[in-house]
Amino acid sequence: MSSERSQRSRGGLEVAAALAVGALFGFGLALSGMLDPAKVIGFLDLFGDWDPSLAFVMGGALLVSTPGYLWLRRRGGPSLLAGALSWPTRTDVDRPLVLGAVLFGVGWGLVGLCPGPALAGWIFLGLPILVFVLAMVVGSFAWGSLGATR
């Protein structure tokens, strides 16, 4: 009984933590400038009037995530709220990895939105971004269900 209750409250904590961390991520995206598709395309326009500022976004993120991950790996042990740390284990470079990255890059370059900025930026209710999010979810789930039947 009491373990059932602690299980449930731990599940609640897990959800609250995910909500808060998601909000921090979205807050960071808003500060970074990644929510503006025109700015993203300006960053990707290497051969035109290049706007390098968004390189500082990935740079700033890696400046924290690289030592942070290193520390978590060294420390070992479980996560604070939800069991073991699930680090990805695959190391093989296969065709879906490369082809998927190419398709993603083409879509990103066409519109200037990748998944995070789209899923954070729809809240301002711009119709084009809502439509993009819908198409992105359809694409992801369509490919996911294909993968599941193979």
Binding site: A23, G33, G68, A82, A84, G107, V137
Partner: protein, 142 residues
């Protein structure tokens, strides 16, 4: 505070990026998960039922955080240069491509590069080059 405009300077990009990196480290420390947005989304479809609530909560948090930033400063610029057919095509390509390639800018770029993943070291330059090549063709060739 008032002269700080999100998304308008190297400093705000750097701070925003550092907060994204902090969120990635916190998600691993608290829940043991990689902060890849496309992977978190895809898992809503395929993960075990008990593994879905945190994903949904994270994806609700994303726009809430952006909204908080907008309330503190100003709503972000969101200028779209693409027309409707391109927006739909781009959305489909981003959805299919990130699922097929197991990640996007956050999963491969921020998290994968941080742990020197071989797959992410291949995927990240691949999608950056594909995106830059697409902008080159659309803006300067067509």
């Amino acid at each position: 505070m008032s002269d700080f405009v999100p998304g308008s300077s190297y400093l705000s990009s750097l701070i925003g990026g550092a907060l994204i990196g902090t969120a990635a480290v916190l998600l691993m420390a608290l829940l043991g998960r990689i902060a890849g947005i496309s992977g978190i989304l895809g898992g809503l479809q395929t993960a075990a039922p008990g593994d879905r609530a945190w994903r949904a909560a994270f994806l609700v948090g994303l726009p809430l955080g952006a909204l908080i930033a907008a309330l503190v400063w100003a709503p972000p610029e969101q200028t779209l240069v693409a027309g409707w057919p391109t927006i739909v095509l781009g959305g489909l390509l981003v959805g299919i491509g990130t699922r097929m390639g197991s990640g996007c800018t956050s999963g491969h770029g921020v998290c994968g590069l941080a742990r020197m993943s071989r797959r992410s070291l291949v995927a990240t330059p691949t999608f950056m080059l594909a995106a830059a090549g697409t902008v080159l063709v659309v803006r300067h060739v067509l």
